[in-house]
C-alpha cells in the first residue's frame, strides 16, 4: 500500500464533505451553505461529538448502548436542579455525578447479569425516561437560568467539545487504558489471558461514557436553556447519529484517528440532513437518503481495505 494511497484514503471523508457541500450549494445556492450556516453546523456537530466520544469508548468494547441519550437527559436535569442551589458548580457537579452514577450502575448490570446487554440498555431507558417525567412534572421540561447560556454558546461550547475530543483522542491512542479497552473489545477472553482486568477496564469505559454524556447534557441544556422530558424511547434516537458516525469512523480508522472520523461523520450527516431540508424533503425521506449515503461511503472504504491483506 503506497503512502499516496493512504493519504488518499485519509482524505476521503473530507472529500465526501466537500462533494456533499458542493452538490447542495449548486442545488440551493441561496438557501444552503452560507458561512454563518456552516459555522452553526460545525458547532452542532462538535456538540454531538461529545456524546460520540462516549459512545465510541463503548463501541470499542463491542457494546451498543442506546441509553447514552437518556443518561445525558437525566444528567442535565439533575444539573439544572442543583444549579438552582449551587449555581454553575452545582450544574456541572450534579450532571457529572449523575452521569457517572448512571453509567457505573449500568456497567455493573451489564457485567453481572446474564441478560442480553440490549435488554438492560432498553430497561434503563424506560426507567430513566419515567424519572424525567417525574422530575419535570406537568411542565414537561426544566429550564435553566439565562445566565448559563454562555456555556452553550461560542466560544465555550467549542472549547468544551474540543477539550473532550482531544482528551478522548489521547486516551484512545496514547494511554494504557485505551489499549486495554481496545484489547477487551477485540476478544475479552484473550485479553483476560494476557492478565487484563476485564471487569475494571469495562467499568472505566462506561464511566468515561457517562462523563461524556453528562458534559453533552450540560452544554446542550445551556445552548437551548431547557431540557425536555423523554417519552416512548425518544432519548434513544439522540444516540443514533453519533453511533452511525462512530461506525463511519471505524471504516476509516486505519487512515484517520477515529475521534476525528467520528466528528467528520456527524458533520457529514448534519450537512446532508440540512441540505435535504433546504431542498424541501421531509424528514422520512431525509433519513432514507442519509442511510444510503452512509452505506455507500462505508462500502467504498471497505472495498479499498481488501487489497491491504498481507498473505
Amino acid at each position: 500500500m503506497s503512502r499516496a494511497k493512504n493519504i488518499l484514503h485519509a482524505l476521503m471523508p473530507f472529500l465526501a464533505l466537500v462533494v456533499v457541500y458542493a452538490v447542495f450549494k449548486i442545488l440551493q445556492p441561496a438557501r444552503f451553505g452560507s458561512l454563518p450556516n456552516m459555522w452553526l453546523f460545525v458547532q452542532q456537530s462538535l456538540l454531538l461529538s461529545i456524546l460520540g466520544c462516549g459512545i465510541y469508548f463503548l463501541l470499542s468494547l463491542g457494546i451498543f448502548d442506546l441509553s447514552v441519550g437518556i443518561n445525558a437527559v437525566i444528567s442535565a436535569m439533575i444539573g439544572q436542579v442543583l444549579s438552582n442551589y449551587l449555581g454553575g458548580f452545582g450544574l456541572f457537579i450534579g450532571a457529572i455525578l449523575c452521569g457517572l452514577a448512571v453509567s457505573f450502575t449500568l456497567s455493573q448490570f451489564m457485567q453481572r447479569l446474564p441478560v442480553n446487554p440490549m435488554i438492560i440498555s432498553v430497561g434503563f431507558i424506560l426507567l430513566f425516561e419515567a424519572v424525567t417525567q417525574l422530575l419535570t412534572g406537568s411542565n414537561s421540561s426544566l429550564q435553566i437560568d439565562n445566565s448559563f447560556r454562555v456555556i452553550g454558546a461560542f466560544p465555550w461550547n467549542v472549547i468544551i467539545s474540543l477539550a473532550v475530543m482531544v482528551a478522548s483522542m489521547i486516551i484512545y491512542k496514547y494511554t494504557v487504558l485505551g489499549v486495554y479497552i481496545r484489547a477487551i473489545g477485540s476478544e475479552k477472553e484473550i485479553a483476560g489471558k494476557f492478565g487484563l482486568n476485564v471487569a475494571k477496564y469495562t467499568t472505566i469505559a462506561f464511566v468515561l461514557c457517562g462523563l461524556c454524556a453528562a458534559l453533552y447534557g450540560v452544554v446542550n441544556l445551556c445552548y437551548s436553556t431547557r431540557v425536555a422530558q423523554a417519552t416512548g424511547m425518544s432519548s434513544a434516537t439522540a444516540a443514533f447519529r453519533p453511533m452511525m458516525a462512530c461506525m463511519f469512523a471505524n471504516s476509516f480508522k486505519k487512515y484517520l484517528h477515529p475521534i476525528i472520523g467520528m466528528f467528520i461523520g456527524i458533520l457529514f450527516l448534519n450537512l446532508i440532513s440540512n441540505g435535504l431540508l433546504a431542498n424541501g424533503l421531509e424528514s422520512s425521506l431525509q433519513n432514507i437518503i442519509i442511510g444510503f449515503a452512509m452505506i455507500l461511503i462505508v462500502r467504498a472504504s471497505n472495498k479499498s481495505r481488501k487489497y491491504d491483506i498481507v498473505k
Binding site: 496514547y174 489499549v179 484489547a183 485479553a191 483476560g192 489471558k193 494476557f194 492478565g195 487484563l196 498481507v310
Partner: protein, 498 residues
C-alpha cells in the same frame, strides 16, 4: 539431571465422564526440551492449558523451581515465568503489532498510564528484527497479517518475555519453513538460558529432531518417557496408538496409469503471489502441489475455488465446459475446497456438526424453503460415519472436537455433496498419526471412486506417498513436475523447490 525445574504431581482433569487427564505425574529438567506426543484427545493440550493457568485442575499440584505453583489465570502463569504458545490464534485485532507484543507489559515504555508510542514501536521493531522478522510493521493493525505472521508475533512476544518454562502447542504446522526456523531459534535460546520447553507436535520427525526427551500420552495417562536418541519414528507411533502399526500409511501401488480424461483445465492462472500457472487435472488423479509456503502453492487452491482477489486466467470444468470464477460457481460444478486454515475458513466453529455437514446440501435436503431437522440429522449421521468422526452426537458443536475430527468434518461436508474435484490445502496439518492414516486411506478411497484431487502440502513425503503426479511451485510458477515412481525421493523435489 537431578535438579527439577517443573514438576507435575498426580494431575486429574475431567470433562463430564471423560478423563481428559488421568493421574499424570512428570518432571521437566532445566535446559531440557521435552516433547509431548499422543493421538488427538490424549490430553496433551489439556495438560498445557492447566499448567498455563487457562484451566483449573480437578486435583493435582505443580512445583516450579521447587516452589508450589498455582496460577489462577494465564496472566499469573506468565508472571511466574510460564508461557504458552497455543494452537489457536492469540493476537487481538484492533491492536497494533507492537500493542500485541507488549500487551500487559506496558511499564517498559509508559509513565502514569501514558504510552510513549515512539518508544514502544522502536522496541517492537528491535524485537522483531532480532527475531529475523522484517516484513511486519510494529504500527500496523494485526488484522492485516496472515495467520502465520500472527503466530510469528506471538513468538516474538515469547522472545521478549523470556519464560522459565515455555510451552508450544502444535504451533509449527501454522508456520512456513522460515517461521519454523524462528520457532527453533526461540526454543534453542530458551534452552541455552537454562530454561525449559514443552513441545507438542504431530510431526514425529520434528519432535525427534527438536526434543531431548519425549513423553508419550494415551487416554489422558502418561505411558512412558524416552530419550529422543533412544527411539525412532516407528517406535513412537506404536507407543502413541498402543499397537504396532502394520504396513505403510501411504499407497503402495506404482503402476496405476493416469487417465487421459481431463476434468479440470487451469490456464495462465494469476493473482497476487501467483505468476501464471497452467496444468490439467485428470479423472481419478491425485495431483500434488509442493513448494515453500510463499511459493504460490496455497494461492493455487484459493484461486481455483474463487477465494482469491483479482484472479486472471481460466479455470474450466471440462465436462460442463464452464469456466468457474466464484465460490458459488465452483460449488455448482462440484468442486470442493478444504482450506489450510481449517478453523477459520473450512468450518463454522459455533455451529453443530450436523449444520456443518449439511450446509452445502440444502438443495437436496430442503423442500421449497423448509428443511426437516430430522432429515438433516439423519443425513449428517450417515455422512459422519464415512470418516468415523469421533463425537457424542451430530448436534454437538464443531468447536468441541479435536483437530483431527474437525478435519474429518471438513472433508465429510464435501463428500456429502457429491463433490467430484477436491482441492485440499494441507489436509493433514495439525492432526495426529492415527487420523492422518484415515485421511490417506480416504484419498485412496476417493481415488478409486474416480474422484479427482489436488493436494497441496509442504510435507513432501506425504505427496510422494499419495500422489500420482506432483507439481513443484517456486516464486509463483511451476518449477518442476514428477510422476509417481518408486525411486522418487524428497531430495529430487527439494532441488526444484529451492
Amino acid at each position: 539431571m537431578s535438579e527439577v525445574l517443573f514438576r507435575i504431581n498426580e494431575l486429574y482433569k475431567y470433562f463430564g465422564a471423560t478423563h481428559a487427564v488421568d493421574g499424570a505425574s512428570m518432571d521437566v529438567y532445566p535446559g531440557e526440551v521435552l516433547g509431548f506426543i499422543g493421538e488427538n484427545g490424549s490430553g496433551k493440550s489439556t495438560i498445557l492449558s492447566i499448567i498455563s493457568g487457562m484451566l483449573k485442575p480437578d486435583s493435582g499440584t505443580f512445583e516450579l523451581d521447587a516452589k508450589p505453583y498455582t496460577p489462577a489465570s494465564q496472566a499469573e502463569g506468565i508472571k511466574s515465568g510460564v508461557s504458552l504458545i497455543a494452537q489457536e490464534i492469540n493476537t487481538l485485532e484492533g491492536l497494533s503489532v507492537a500493542e500485541n507484543i507488549f500487551l500487559g507489559l506496558e511499564e517498559n515504555f509508559s509513565k502514569h498510564g501514558f504510552i510513549n508510542l515512539k518508544k514502544m514501536h522502536q522496541m517492537a521493531l528491535d524485537v522483531l528484527v532480532a527475531s529475523g522478522i522484517t516484513d511486519i510493521a510494529p504500527e500496523d493493525d494485526v488484522r492485516h497479517y496472515s495467520i502465520e505472521q500472527r503466530k510469528m508475533i506471538e513468538l516474538v512476544r515469547s522472545f521478549f518475555i523470556k519464560p522459565r518454562l515455555l510451552m508450544i502447542d502444535e504451533t509449527s504446522t501454522a508456520l512456513s519453513h522460515v517461521g519454523r526456523d524462528e520457532l527453533y531459534k526461540l526454543i534453542n535460546a530458551t534452552k541455552e538460558a537454562g530454561n525449559s520447553v514443552i513441545f507438542i507436535s504431530h510431526d514425529l520427525q520434528e519432535v525427534l529432531r527438536v526434543c531431548d526427551r519425549i513423553t508419550i500420552l494415551r487416554d489422558g495417562k502418561i505411558v512412558t518417557s524416552k530419550m529422543a536418541d533412544e527411539v525412532d519414528e516407528d517406535q513412537l507411533k506404536t507407543l502413541m496408538v498402543g499397537r504396532e502399526l502394520v504396513g505403510s500409511f501411504y499407497r503402495t501401488d506404482y503402476d496405476a496409469k493416469i487417465s487421459d480424461d481431463v476434468v479440470l483445465q487451469v490456464r495462465d492462472l494469476k493473482c497476487k503471489g501467483l505468476g501464471g500457472v497452467s496444468f490439467d487435472l485428470h479423472k481419478g488423479e491425485i495431483l500434488g502441489i509442493a513448494g515453500l509456503s510463499d511459493s504460490g502453492m496455497h494461492e493455487i487452491g484459493r484461486a481455483i475455488f474463487g477465494i482469491e482477489y483479482d484472479v486472471a486466467g481460466d479455470v474450466k470444468v471440462v465436462e460442463s465446459g464452464k469456466s468457474v470464477k466464484t465460490i458459488q460457481e465452483s460449488i455448482g460444478e462440484k468442486i470442493g475446497y478444504i482450506s489450510k486454515n481449517r478453523d477459520t475458513e473450512s468450518l463454522f466453529q459455533a455451529a453443530s456438526i450436523s449444520d456443518n455437514i449439511a450446509v452445502h446440501c440444502m438443495d437436496v435436503l430442503s423442500k421449497s424453503i423448509f428443511v426437516s431437522p430430522s432429515k438433516m440429522k439423519k443425513f449428517a449421521e450417515e455422512n459422519a460415519k464415512t470418516l468415523e468422526v469421533k463425537m457424542r452426537e451430530v448436534g454437538q458443536n464443531v468447536s468441541e472436537l479435536s483437530g483431527g475430527n474437525k478435519q474429518k468434518v471438513a472433508v465429510t461436508k464435501w463428500i456429502a455433496r457429491g463433490t467430484e474435484i477436491f482441492v485440499m490445502d494441507s489436509p493433514t496439518r495439525g492432526i495426529d498419526v492415527g487420523v492422518k492414516a484415515v485421511i490417506y486411506a480416504l484419498l485412496v478411497q476417493l481415488n478409486k471412486q474416480g474422484k479427482s484431487m489436488i493436494v497441496i502440502s509442504e510435507e513432501l513425503l506425504e505427496l510422494i506417498g499419495c500422489c500420482d503426479r506432483i507439481l513443484v511451485m517456486r516464486d509463483g510458477r511451476i518449477s518442476g513436475e514428477f510422476f509417481r515412481n518408486e525411486n522418487l525421493r524428497e531430495e529430487d523435489i527439494v532441488q526444484k523447490v529451492v
